[in-house]
């Protein structure tokens, strides 16, 4: 290596280090700030009390339950639809007009601002289908929002399954369907789970779309047909209505913890699932 190359190498290395450090600093700054401001707000009553408008301090239990509720219902709707759509696109669809239209649609859907989804949800699910402001309206709206992510990510992970596995299965007389369910899907499971985690992130963080669809009632939703305020929405309302900045930090802290827990749990489940599906561990 001559001197010019050497200094070039050095500069690039330094840049990479600096940018990595910047990313890390921002991450630490944000989480640190929330932890410092939010952690002191956490108390047993904060976590387990219901929300009383007249009270001095409010609990966030209803929002926590509603958030989990909304996540589950949304995933229940979007994950199966997304996986089957991805399977269709990768394994069955012949390249052509229809596929390119579907691709174009999913990519466009992914770029639409969430407030637009909210407006659509309000007009279609809440008014037209008369689902009212409810967990179901919210979940349906969010399902449309996360579907592109699930389809794209699942598609990519299906494509990474080696062709040799598929050929081996077909050559043994397995049908295409059996090959998909026994060979291709199990090997794509980590990609699919990544899609699910990304979706959870979007659901947890969503406010605009939910304001119009799942509503802001600060009570535990008794069924999917009831309105229920989620944590992000709660955070937004606490600040915009000037109720309590401290409680907002507390809520943000809990939100952060929930996201981390869900993340770790999914990774753990992915590992377990893969092991079970593939039998025995590679040494």
């Amino acid at each position: 290596m001559n001197r010019k190359n050497k200094s070039y190498d050095l500069i690039m290395k330094a840049l990479i280090w600096i940018f990595s450090a910047v990313t890390l600093v921002f991450f630490l700054l944000v989480t640190g700030f929330i932890i410092i401001k939010g952690a002191p707000q956490i108390s047993w009553s904060f976590l387990t009390d219901i929300y009383k408008v007249t009270a001095d301090k409010h609990g966030i239990l209803p929002m926590m339950v509603n958030t989990v509720y909304l996540i589950l219902i949304t995933l229940l709707i979007s994950v199966p639809v997304g996986i089957f759509a991805a399977i269709y696109l990768v394994e069955y669809a012949k390249p052509g007009k229809i596929v390119s239209v579907i691709r174009f649609t999913t990519e466009t859907l992914a770029g639409i601002p969430s407030i637009v989804y909210g407006l659509f949800g309000l007009i279609f699910f809440v008014s037209f289908l008369k689902l009212d402001w409810s967990i179901l309206s919210g979940a349906l709206t969010l399902s449309i929002m996360v579907l592109p992510v699930i389809i794209r990510t699942t598609e990519e992970s299906l494509k990474t399954v080696p062709r040799e596995y598929k050929e081996g299965s077909l050559a043994l007389g397995a049908t295409r369907l059996r090959t998909i369910f026994k060979i291709i899907l199990p090997n794509a499971i980590s990609g699919i789970l990544a899609a699910v985690i990304l979706s959870i992130g979007r659901i947890v963080g969503e406010t605009a779309a939910l304001l119009f669809t799942s509503g802001i009632v600060p009570k535990i939703a008794q069924s999917i047909f009831n309105s229920g305020r989620t944590m992000s929405l709660h955070l937004y309302l606490l600040v915009t209505e000037g109720i309590s900045t401290d409680e907002a930090y507390g809520t943000a802290f809990v939100l952060l913890v929930i996201v981390i827990v869900i993340n770790r749990l999914s990774a753990y489940l992915a590992g377990r699932l893969r092991k079970r599906l593939q039998g025995g561990s590679a040494e």
């Binding site: 299965s169 050559a171 007389g173 397995a174 090997n187 025995g280 590679a282 040494e283």
Partner: protein
């Protein structure tokens, strides 16, 4: 006895005429080697015998392929066909699951569920593929933990598990070391007592060692087809002679 017969088999990939008027009679319980330079249509021919080319949308096939006199493109369903005609691939491709599950995948596909029966199939298939002694204590371990040669024998065992009649092998030893290669060759000589074997190989010595009949492919045509000994010692076509003696290919 003729096991597999092709008559005027033509295959096109889009505009490319990949196989031209292939007519071959493949004898039962013999090893038939397909030789020829890369891209001459050997593998394509092999895949047309168990209809693996069906996967390729732009592939068009004309002519006749029969198994025991039955047209495999008209009168057989593809699941039954692939049960009768097994295939071993160039690169060992065990599924990323346990050794046991690799073997039982085929039988389960065809409806066998009983544990005792599956156990029996696993042992028989692995014994027939001369792998049993090496893996009997770790059947639940991942197949990917095996060496390349073992993996390929596992793939052969996996093919045997559904009791095929014909085995297609697409350069099964090209990714293996010499010792593993020899083991597979011994295995092939053993297997031909019970199975009809069609093997694509780039290795002339291998074709000479293990096959009874040899077909020489060139640019999508069969130039010469006959007993291996004759093809290698007294080839009738100049091109065959040139290829075998290493003048091209």
């Amino acid at each position: 006895m003729i096991k597999v017969r092709t008559k005027d088999l033509n295959l096109h990939y889009g505009d490319h005429h990949a196989l031209k008027d292939i007519s071959m009679d493949i004898e039962e319980n013999k090893v038939t080697a397909l030789i020829g330079p890369s891209g001459c249509g050997k593998s394509t021919f092999l895949k047309s015998l168990n209809r693996m080319n069906d996967l390729i949308p732009i592939c068009r096939i004309e002519g006749l392929v029969t198994l025991d006199g039955v047209d495999i493109y008209k009168d057989v369903n593809v699941v039954e066909l692939r049960k009768k005609i097994g295939m071993v691939f160039q690169k060992p491709n065990p599924f990323p699951m346990s050794i046991y599950d690799n073997i039982t995948y085929g039988p389960k596909t065809h409806g066998i569920r009983k544990k005792s029966m599956l156990d029996e199939i696993v042992e028989r298939s692995l014994r027939d593929a001369v792998l049993w002694d090496e893996v009997k204590d770790r059947l639940r371990k991942s197949a990917l933990s095996l060496s390349g040669g073992q993996q390929q024998r596992l793939c052969i065992a996996r093919t045997l598990s559904v009791e095929p009649e014909v085995m297609l092998m697409d350069e099964p030893t090209s990714a293996l070391d010499p010792i593993s290669t020899l083991k597979i060759e011994d295995l092939i000589s053993e297997l031909k007592k019970n199975y009809t074997i069609i093997i694509v190989t780039h290795n002339m010595q291998q074709a000479g060692r293990i096959s009874d009949n040899t077909a020489f492919f060139l640019l999508g045509e069969v130039i010469e087809f006959g007993e291996t000994e004759n093809i290698f010692n007294v080839p009738t076509d100049k091109r065959t002679e040139d290829y075998i003696t290493g003048r091209f290919g």
